[in-house]
């Protein structure tokens, strides 16, 4: 049986209802077309996991920045220009050989927008939200990540106003790379904690 297919048969109807709402809001002057266009463009192009990747790569290459990032994720992210909605308080969690962090929002979909953009569907799925707090190892193995029992798994339920970013371990053999090159290695999933690099 399919899961989380979210009744795609109603998607055509959703499109109609969205058009109706937009028409009403524009007619009433509550929003303008270009605001909608520009917000969509920003989250499609500018505000996404590439931001978090730049933060991670800088932390890997600048020990003082890493220290700052772990102590005050909000300020260290703001230093790169990453501020705004869903980023009032950013906490960065360091993965190590002994500790693996993974983030979820069981009640909804809380996610550090300034650093990762809007969350992927699986992060918002009922399966992920219900399961990862109870059986994180089994969930991670579905992502292809098998963790030994000697590694402590820390699950973070992002339920209130704090937003979490995982700082993945720098892959072995990459110490010669520049921050720009390292940025390319950092995946969204590694910053949520469902992958290691």
């Amino acid at each position: 049986m399919g899961h989380d297919h979210h009744h795609s048969h109603s998607s055509a109807d959703a499109e109609i209802r969205a058009k109706a709402l937009e028409a009403l809001l524009v007619e009433k002057g509550l929003i303008t077309t270009d605001v909608i266009d520009e917000v969509v463009r920003k989250y499609e192009e500018d505000i996404g996991p590439m931001n978090g990747a730049r933060v991670v790569a800088r932390a890997w290459t600048e020990p003082s920045y890493k220290k700052w990032l772990l102590e005050d994720g909000t300020a260290a992210s703001a230093d790169m220009g990453y501020t705004g909605k869903e980023g009032a308080k950013i906490v960065v969690l360091e993965n190590t050989a002994e500790v693996h962090n993974v983030v979820v929002c069981t009640l909804c979909s809380c996610y550090p927008w300034p650093l990762l953009g809007l969350p992927p569907n699986w992060y918002k799925s009922y399966a992920y939200r219900s399961r990862v707090v109870r059986e994180p190892r089994k969930v991670l193995s579905e992502f292809g990540l098998e963790l030994g029992e000697d590694i402590e798994v820390r699950v973070w339920d992002s339920n209130s106003e704090i937003r979490y970013l995982v700082l993945p371990e720098q892959p072995a053999g990459t110490s010669d790379l520049s921050a720009g090159e390292l940025t390319e290695l950092v995946t969204r999933d590694s910053m949520i904690g469902v992958a290691r690099l």
Partner: protein
Amino acid sequence: MNSIHDMGGMHGFGKIPYEENEPVFHAPWEGRVYAMAMYTPKGVPGGFRYMIEKMEPATYLASSYYEKWMHARTQGLIESGDISQAELDEKIAYFRENAEARPPVVNDPERVAKALKAMYKTLPPDPAQPDPPKFKVGDAIRAKNMHPIGHTRLPRYCRGKQGVVDFVYDYWWVDDTPPAGEEHAIEPLYRIKFEAQTLWGEEAEPNQVLYIDMFESYLEV
């Protein structure tokens, strides 16, 4: 409220639905709903998330993510009196019958500039501090066994369970629905650490802990 949205620990939802190279929005309407939800300068009575949580559970589960957002935004504007159900129904009927029709286009660069400013604005994280925190790092606490009908950020799977204060954050506005006529309270926020065995008993996986943030009123000794 103990509604279906509070699903941490539930069984039955199957495997994680992973999509390679997933787009930010899966259809243009999703992005437009996102923008309307976030940038229409009107509050949702009772709160955006509470409006979603109050959806009938079967409808909640059957609705996609942005359908829920559209519901909250639309229902909020109806309840605040900014739009009426009748004019909405009329518009829906119009677009249902006119598949090629598009909403009117009105542009205003000044409002775009304002929206972009809001997009990057970080809300003040540290409201006025009324009382010193009651708990400190290392304190053993218990999450209250509470079942409010209003919005709360204390999930069922933590309630009544013993944990330890791991970190004391700044003061925050409590998200829970305040008593009628009152404003949101301001309280210290704590990071609480639970052992997986405390939460899940014998079925817990080995070597796992859970961190979750809790307002002071969620905690008791």
